[in-house]
Amino acid sequence: MNLNNLLSEKRSVILKKWCDLTLQTYPEESQSFFRKKDQFANPVGHTISEGLASIYEGLLEGADVGRISEFLDRIIRVRAIQEFSPSEAVSFVFGLKSIIREELGSRILQNGLSEEWAALDARIDGLALLCFDIYAQCRQKIFDIRVNEVRKRSHRLLQMAGLSYEISEDNENNKDNGDLQEDK
């Protein structure tokens, strides 16, 4: 009997609790909606339930960081633009620790698996660190998009006015764009 066996055995209970815990961070009126199982009518709920399941599998199988990050990314990407503080957005990861303690704590100790348990806890901590990176990337992306959007809207004008980087130096016909010049 090793820890992975126990985790596989209790898979559905642990996942359900983990999912519930994560959904509890949403307004109460909407939690039942997010439980609906329709990938397209309910992308948030779907992303969370599928994502958590995949992360859990990945954790058991010792999947590589790329795969795990991909699943974390799906969840964090959504939470990064919802009404959460950064800590709230990534807090769901730590919930897994408590759930495992609650569900399996005594059996783990009975079976003398505390070493493995500590390792698992460390891996979950690792997940949280990954989440932190991903969250920061997502927020950065939002700001990049904001900046790029402004550029996309005006870059043709800059180009036309001879102000964009593609046609440098030539600033002759930009007489109507004094303020743009300042921006440069």
Binding site: E29, K36, D38, F40, A41
Partner: protein, 351 residues
Amino acid sequence: MNIVLSLIVSGLAISALVVIPFAGVWAAPFYGVHIEWLFGIVIPYLAAITFFVGMIYRVVKWAKSPVPFRIPTTCSQQKSLPWIKYDYVDKLDNPSTRLGVWGRMILEVLFFRSLFRNTRLQYGEGQSIKYTSSKWLWIGAIGFHYTFLVVIIRHLRFFTEPMPFFVKIIENVDGFFQIFLPTAYQSGLLLGAAATFLLLRRVLIPQVRYVSLPADYFPLFLILTIAGTGILMRYVLKTDVVSIKELTMGLVSFSPKIPEGGISVVFYIHLFLVSALFAYFPFSKLVHMGGVFLSPTRNLENNNRAVRHINPWNPKVKIHTYEEYEDDFREKMIGAGLPVEKKVAPTENKE
């Protein structure tokens, strides 16, 4: 108003509506007061008048508000080029003719087409049940409205002599399962079940609970109580139907009188609740019954590009004319080789 308050308020209102006729018909005679005429004649008449006048007022008010724009919600392919598929579904969901609109309205009013839309099947891996609650809403709504209709038609037996044939037919169909005596009508029970379902749904689904008002619980309570008293009268207390018909026929023939032997108080409670429902109708959300016919997103053709729709109050507005525009930019336009109307620039005219 949260749900508890809403339920309490609605419940109290219903209790009052039960207590009043009870006091008036059952208790008052102990004090020598006989006011059956009030509950059997005056209030029903007042309620009926309120209902008809109120509904007419409502509909007239809606109708008086013009329809400035033709704004159907188009739920299918438009009619465009002759070879682009525009079959019967499109003709109904995106009608381009009056006939299509009639079809759309019939589907909407009789079959709750838009509610049914929720049940459209969706594909997706490993998902067996989709939108169940919405499908249930459609079933519940259909069940509720149709059993209500059947119950109303059945009640025509109290207001007609002889009974029209369709009332007979409805009664026969409705009482098809003759398990009990007197004949048990399924409609009453189903109506109760459907109303209960709609109520439970409102209480149990958090989103719906969040948007619900006392004005949503009250009519459901009212209808449930009406159905309850009706069932009680028919199956348990076996109220004297002959006397009731004497009263009701008197009401419709405008020669009302309270029957000699008197009628059980449950009947008066039932009648009072029905009166309350009628009087309440025009002032509540129940007016959707009439409103659905007037809905501009459903009852108009999507042919605005082919046939002009007239807005009776089409406003006069100030437009920035081409002339003003050219005045603003003439020199630049000439410089860029754009054609202009006036060659000579007048003095700059900045607004």
